[in-house]
């Protein structure tokens, strides 16, 4: 989507009318360019919205042979009804939120790498889980968005129990991993504090779990 149209469709920009007006401006400018006509020739654009929209409507109608109606119930932009404008607006809002969340997760992942170190990060990328040993000698496996697994057995490869304690939803999963890592490794006191707040669950199977990785888009 062209950046200027993206700005024109910004749902935070103001009223539906101003949104539609800017979208019309963009469309009219673009078409004026395509057909090598000036804004003046393109229907005598004025500063008044009603005059402007009716002039653009005339222009677009003359160019395309179609007629574009601007009803009193709402604005019709290039044949889009009000409901469609709202749907585009909602879709654009969701797009902006998903971009914001991805940016937040990237930032949180950099914090995680900083806290655990490059070596542990490389291990995570290879094994698909982050394994730590607490001050009390317990081995845990951590995964973003999943429960903390307590590992037992002579080689630490069996899951005894799973603990679920995380940051409030909306905070990136990598931040939760940072906090889990620090609480479980800093001291016996912080480990006990974590275990006191976490809910306990029967284990699924030990990490990594390829199906969960695929669903989360983390599969290698």
């Amino acid at each position: 989507m062209p950046e200027d149209l993206e700005v024109a469709l910004d749902p935070e920009a103001g009223s539906l009318e101003s949104l539609a007006t800017r979208a019309i401006t963009h469309a009219a400018d673009t078409l004026a360019g395509y057909f090598s006509v000036t804004a003046g020739a393109a229907g005598g654009l004025s500063t008044g919205t009603n005059t402007w929209t009716s002039n653009v409507s005339s222009f677009l109608g003359a160019v395309s042979g179609n007629s574009y109606a601007f009803g009193s119930a709402g604005l019709s932009v290039m044949g889009y009804g009000q409901r469609q404008i709202e749907m585009v607006r909602e879709d654009y809002r969701a797009l902006r939120m998903s971009r914001a969340r991805k940016k937040a997760e990237d930032k949180a992942r950099r914090l995680f790498i900083r806290v655990v170190g490059e070596s542990a990060w490389l291990d995570f990328k290879e094994s698909r889980y982050h394994e730590i040993v607490s001050p009390s000698g317990v081995r845990y496996r951590l995964r973003p968005g999943l429960r903390v697994q307590k590992m037992i057995g002579y080689d630490g490869s069996m899951v005894e129990i799973e603990y679920c304690a995380h940051m409030p939803f909306g905070i990136p999963w990598w931040d939760t991993m940072v906090v889990q890592h620090l609480m479980l490794t800093a001291s016996r006191e912080s480990e006990a504090k974590f275990l006191a707040v976490a809910n306990r669950h029967d284990p699924l199977t030990k990490y990594p779990i390829p199906e969960l990785d695929r669903n989360a888009g983390l599969a290698a």
Binding site: E105, G117, A120, C164, I171, D175, L182, S187, F194
Partner: protein, 84 residues
């Protein structure tokens, strides 16, 4: 520069200060105390990020739980996670 880093919905928010500037140190300390009163816990982060020599007796332990403000410390402040 030392800082207090708090995870939030944007990833994290950071308050940094110059340890040689008394006003900035005072502001950071006030923020630390405010977070402490709100129930946050604090972990010391090493400047080189997880690569410090943890065997040295003179090395401040990376990831150590701390309770008092130190203007030289790089700190992560967080609420205790909730059970899920």
């Amino acid at each position: 520069m030392p800082s207090i880093t708090e995870p939030d919905t944007s990833g994290d928010v950071k308050l940094s200060w110059d340890p040689k500037n008394p006003n900035e140190v005072e502001r950071a300390k006030a923020h630390f105390e405010k977070l402490k009163a709100a129930g946050h816990i604090f972990f010391r982060l090493s400047p080189d990020g997880g690569k410090g020599d943890k065997t040295s007796l003179f090395h401040k332990q990376d990831g150590e739980l701390i309770y008092e403000f130190d203007p030289e410390d790089d700190v992560l402040a967080t609420k205790v996670p909730v059970g899920g």
